[in-house]
């Protein structure tokens, strides 16, 4: 399939200690009073204080907003936008994992375009520019610092809304591997598996391009090579490689999109508020099996990386690769069956009927109805 591709990413500042450029970046974007979004965990780890220190060194004024939880809520973005306007802030800086970053995008959006966050659900529905955004990811996973996505939970409908727009791509992403050192083992695994999932799904996406595919494969390779040593040793060298992997996966999925696995993961997050990173080891192998017929060769390429070598045929390599992935996830000491995180099997049908509307499903290599998704869930149960 030939089509016109597009590849857009923010400016990326990468390296140990790159956090100290935050103030300079905000200043260069015209900032005078920074709106800093983060959460309790990063406050406790001292990173919020460190960022404020950097801002003050640059003589920037700041306000701090931390009413953000995992799976950020619509009202939190509204409250944040109100605070932003009331304080007369300009540049928005987000420090954290996917939640603070997605919340910061929502705040930027509502503050500059008005209305409710729900008004912008879907693709390309933003018509006015957003305040400049500088994002500092604290996990090697979400890719929100790179992507054109913002996922916000609509509390009323119990749905995770996908808001997609090139305007949601931050201006600058500052990736400092030193921040990862303070992350828990659970968070490191969850983020890395999220990134792996981004890489796999964007690789097999219907709109993947040579520019995204190379990033996807790079991410898969790096995660397989460094995740286990990183968890075992927590050495900075391995964590740094996971950061690169996560950024590469972000570049890939922001431009190529995701697939059925993320459609289901979003719905699970919306209905059961499950931690996003925990869903992937359970669902990914089953989604890959479902997609196998539509993209055998591509899954074989992934399989070859997982196995370390090709098997006799493409089909063999692909199938063995998926099995290898299941084994790999099992070894990470995380839940691998859906029943471990969802109590009520009867709600799966509603879940799938909701997931079938998720934007991520658009790029899934094999068309999937809700029945197909329900089948995948049963497989994973």
């Amino acid at each position: 399939m030939t089509r016109v591709h597009k590849f857009s990413i923010p400016e990326i500042i990468f390296g140990r200690g790159s956090l100290s450029y935050t103030g300079l970046c905000a200043r260069q974007l015209g900032g005078e009073k920074v709106f800093l979004v983060s959460d309790r965990g990063l406050e406790e780890a001292g990173w919020v204080a460190r960022v404020i220190e950097v801002l003050e060194a640059e003589k920037l004024r700041w306000v701090y907003y931390s009413e953000v939880v995992s799976n950020p809520r619509d009202f939190q973005t509204h409250k944040g936008a109100e605070y932003y306007l009331q304080q007369g802030a300009d540049v928005i800086i987000a420090l954290g994992g996917g939640s603070p970053m997605d919340a910061a995008k929502g705040i930027a959006l509502v503050a500059s375009n008005g209305g409710q966050i729900q008004d912008y659900e879907g693709a390309n529905r933003i018509h006015r520019p957003l305040p400049p955004m500088v994002f500092i990811p604290s996990t090697a996973g979400s890719g929100s610092d790179i992507s054109q996505f913002s996922i916000i939970t609509d509390v009323g409908r119990q749905v995770k809304m996908s808001i997609i727009s090139r305007t949601l791509v931050p201006n600058i992403s500052i990736i400092d591997p030193l921040i990862l050192e303070t992350k828990s083992q659970k968070l490191i695994i969850a983020a890395a598996i999220d990134a792996l999932c981004h890489a796999v799904e964007s690789y097999v996406s219907k709109i993947s391009s040579p520019f995204t595919e190379v990033q996807s494969l790079q991410a898969i390779r790096l995660i397989l090579q460094h995740l286990k040593p990183a968890v075992a040793t927590r050495s900075l060298e391995h964590l740094e490689q996971l950061s690169i992997a996560s950024t590469a996966a972000g570049m890939a999925f922001s431009n190529a999109g995701l697939g059925a696995e993320h459609a289901l993961a979003h719905s699970l997050g919306g209905m059961f508020d499950t931690l996003h990173g925990l869903v992937h080891p359970i669902l990914l192998p089953h989604v890959m099996r479902f997609n196998l017929s539509a993209c055998t060769e591509k899954i074989a390429v992934i399989g070859e990386i997982l196995l370390g070598r090709p098997l006799g045929s493409v089909q063999e390599t692909a199938a063995a690769g998926i099995e290898m992935l299941e084994t790999y996830c099992g070894e990470l000491n995380v839940p691998v069956r859906l029943r471990e995180i969802v109590q009520d099997r009867s709600r799966l049908e509603d879940l799938c009927k909701m997931a079938v509307n998720d934007v991520c499903l658009l790029t899934n290599p094999r068309p999937a109805g809700w029945e197909d998704l329900l089948h995948i869930c049963w497989e994973a149960w």
Binding site: H5, A123, N124, R128, I164, R166, T167, G257, T363
Partner: protein, 407 residues
Amino acid sequence: MSQKPTLEDLIGIEYAKLGFFKEVQEKVAELQASNLKLELKRRHIQGILDGITDVMAIISLDFRITSVNQVFYNVFEETDPAGKFCFQVFRRQECRCASCPMVIALATNKVCRQLEIFPVNGKNRHFEITASPLRNPQGTPCHILVLKRDVTTEKEYQAKYYQAEKMATVGVLAAGVAHEINNPLTAISGFAEGLKRRLPRLKEKVDPDLAEDFDEYIDIILKECRRCQGIVQNLLDFGRPKSNHFCSLDLSSVIQDTLKLLQNHLKAYPKEHIRLRLQDPLPSIYGDDSQLKQVILNLLFNALDATSEKGCITLRTFSRRSGEEEWVGLAVEDTGTGIPSEHLNKLFEPFFTTKPAGKGIGIGLPTCYNIIQNHGGEIVVCSEELKGSTFLVRLPSGTSALPVLTL
């Protein structure tokens, strides 16, 4: 979601990260337009301000000048008034004026008007001052707009008008009084004449000494009656000028004729006591010969009274042209005692006199004033005590009828 996103939406080739560039462009265009509008408005207002011929100053609440208009520099010598105290710049004082119109305007929250006389560049000027508070957008006064209109000329005209009106009133009164006195006076003099005619018959019957007394007394009565009749006639002339015989005249020859009349009288004075500086030729004027002679006589007698034997009197004639108008002037200068400054502005008032009783009743100069007014001219005086006085008469030149001031 109103519309389900498509793959094309995800690729989003037509959608780029939105920037503020367009918005900035629009804002800049908007600002340029509004700036242009403001500039036009500013010029409009500047035009209005430039059209104001009064001195205008914006003064802060602590009495410091914030800004002034162009007229200020024409009137006052100060070249850089901004930041200085208004009382320093306007009045050359070191503290604020007692009845400051600004303070009143602020206290009453109304526009305050006041008339003030103060010297500017050494000359007393009459100013009408208007002070109005300027308010900031919150409505509290922050500055005061002060307008100073120079009404010196208007005030002078006004004073002249009052003077003329007074003269007219007094003239009518005097004529009435004179008329009333004339009848008894005629009776007195008539009966005195009758007594005088009967005296020869009385002489034969009485003591010759007594008859002589009667003769002398009746003569005195008649003489004093004639004097009274003269005064009454003067009063009547003052109040009701005789019908004019206006014709084209040469002022210099009128002066010479007048001096011939006085030849006898002037024998008592040194030869060079009266000097003539008469311009020849002099543009002719349109006037009444006998009335002008009366003016010259009056001025000359006053000058003679003021000078001692050592002093001298100069009579000058000259002509001046200013624009369309040409004037013929007569100056009577003396080096006499001068006139005290407090008397200067009363000189032309009827019945004002400094002469001893019996020497004058104070209608000489008022009569001169009336005559010159009737000729469309002007009479002014300047004098310095102990040095002398100059009476200056200005008459319009020309040979035909003039717009005569009606009294």
